[in-house]
């Protein structure tokens, strides 16, 4: 039971980290990133591959963040020229391109077979290693949340909000929003990369199949349900998402005669319905949240 709760807790915090990253990009700066999973995947594979070469895990995590952040640079630069609808599809296409590349370049990634046997974080601590992972992630999420709140209140944060609200007015005031947008995009992507590293070393087995666009829309669903633009929204939304994902697992016991595959379909249907209903009736999230 403790192990189960711990596992759910770790996954919930990983989604939390992803949602906080997306909150920086979309919630604050209105950058529509439909390719969250690409940076998550690159982080997971970077850290996984390095760790298999015997690189210390701490270094692997840093590399995961840095590489995912750097990968966001060209997309961030592209985003400067795109309206949000184009950016949405470009990032979605980017995430599929990344997934297919991971699948095809098996000399590096072992392709569809995936990477088994990744070292666990705090493996030396034996039975409490998962608890330690949970605690580390919790500390990181708390740090990022605190940092985001600080950021929002700083002049830099006000600038980001202003970019999201009215970029033209900002340019008229003589500020150049371009570089800030790129920075925020890279920062959010780096967070997703670190989340990917945590995922890789918690699950210890990664395959390209784990990085489908659905993951991106889980994160979006969490953020939008909680209320985009606030830390509270990102955190609560991710927890709600977890209740939803885990709850549907238990729901299988109540819905007799539905196969495992059928249940997966129903879960996807529920995600779709939730995305529709939230955008229709709760654009500011279930908890209200300040309207923008």
């Amino acid at each position: 039971m403790i192990a189960y709760l711990c596992a759910i807790g770790v996954i919930a915090l990983i989604y939390c980290l992803l949602a906080l990253g997306l909150n920086l990009q979309f919630g604050l700066t209105r950058l529509v990133n439909f390719g969250v999973v690409a940076f998550f995947a690159v982080g997971a594979y970077t850290s996984g591959l390095l760790s298999l070469q015997g690189v210390p895990l701490a270094l692997c995590f840093v590399a995961a963040g840095v590489l995912s952040g750097l990968l966001a640079l060209p997309i961030g630069l592209l985003s400067l020229r795109l309206r949000d609808d184009y950016l949405a599809i470009v990032t979605l296409g980017f995430s599929e391109a990344v997934r297919i590349s991971i699948q095809q370049e098996s000399w590096l990634t072992k392709g569809v077979q995936g990477l088994p046997g990744l070292p666990k974080l705090f493996a030396a601590w034996g039975p409490v290693s998962d608890v330690a992972t949970f605690a580390t992630l919790l500390a990181l999420v708390a740090l990022v949340s605190w940092g985001t709140v600080r950021l929002t209140r700083s002049p830099f944060g006000r600038l980001l909000k202003a970019i999201g609200d009215d970029e033209a007015a900002l340019s008229a005031l003589g500020k150049d929003p371009a570089w800030f947008k790129v920075q925020v995009f890279m920062l959010g992507a780096a967070l997703a990369g670190v989340a990917g590293a945590f995922y890789a070393h918690f699950i210890t087995f990664i395959t390209p199949e784990q990085f489908i666009p659905l993951i991106t829309f889980y994160v979006w669903m969490g953020l939008v349900m909680g209320g985009a633009g606030t830390v509270r929204g990102a955190v609560f939304g991710s927890l709600l998402l977890m209740v939803f994902l885990e709850g549907s697992r238990f729901a299988k016991d109540w819905v007799p005669g539905v196969s495992e595959v059928g249940m997966a379909s129903l879960r996807l249907a529920a995600v779709g319905l939730a995305l529709i209903l939230v955008t229709l009736y709760r654009p500011n999230g279930l908890f209200g949240g300040p309207s923008k």
């Binding site: 095809q104 379909s265 995305l275």
Partner: protein, 291 residues
Amino acid sequence: MTWIAFANLLINGLIEGLVVALPALAMTLVMGVNRFPNAATGDFLTTGAYAAVAVQMLGGWPLWAAALASMAATAVVSAGSYTLIFRKLAGRPMVSSMLAAIGLGFLLRSLISFFAGHDQRTFDLPLVRAWNFGGVRLLPTDVAIAGIAVLCLLVVFVLIYKTSFGRQLRAVADSADLARASGIRAGGLMLSLWVLVGALSAIGGVLLGMKAIVSPEMGWESLIPAFAAMVLGGIGSPVGAVLGALLLCVAQELAVPLLGPSYKLVLSFVVLALVLLLRPAGIMGRVQRVR
């Protein structure tokens, strides 16, 4: 590469392009008028293909009759989704409509896979031998696919450019306010547009299923190519969408000997990014405000 191999790839690319042109056109119509990229377009295709499969299985009907029934069914789904979802999101930020469209796509795809399973399906088609012109091979099925696609494109172009429905549609696309001021009723017009989009997607799905296989993911996989075709041709330009689809698919086929078939989608993405970077208005498009 010999000229024969080249010709075969070219022919295949052109036929695929004609098939991709249908969803690209469906997307461009919605983009031009309702101003958001309908990310559920691909899943409308899947809906159409499965509706036709279902009709064929139920009644043992010929494919053309199944396709007509599937057009009607998908048109209902499409018009229904406009009435229940997208109409209410008009005037909200574009990302709301897009998220809802993604959600709708998930919903359609999962309902299909719930009832029909994940197994690949095929249409009940007679097996035919390819014609061989000294090495240049041509499948009769492919010729039929190309013919039907061209016919559908012609019908849509006549509707858009030669009828009052099309004139009103273009008026709304140019300026919704001006159109309303000159007495165009948007409600019925929008519903007709979405009926047309649904029917067009259904045919696209059936043709895609005839060319390859029918699976719950088939439409979703054509989303990025259709979008790339639309952008390549110029957003909101119906002729551009068709040209874009042909260009993109020919390029994809010609790249297969170099990159292998798995990288087709990656190539779509690269084309998309390059076009947006170098020529955001596309081949046929007018310059739009890009912030």
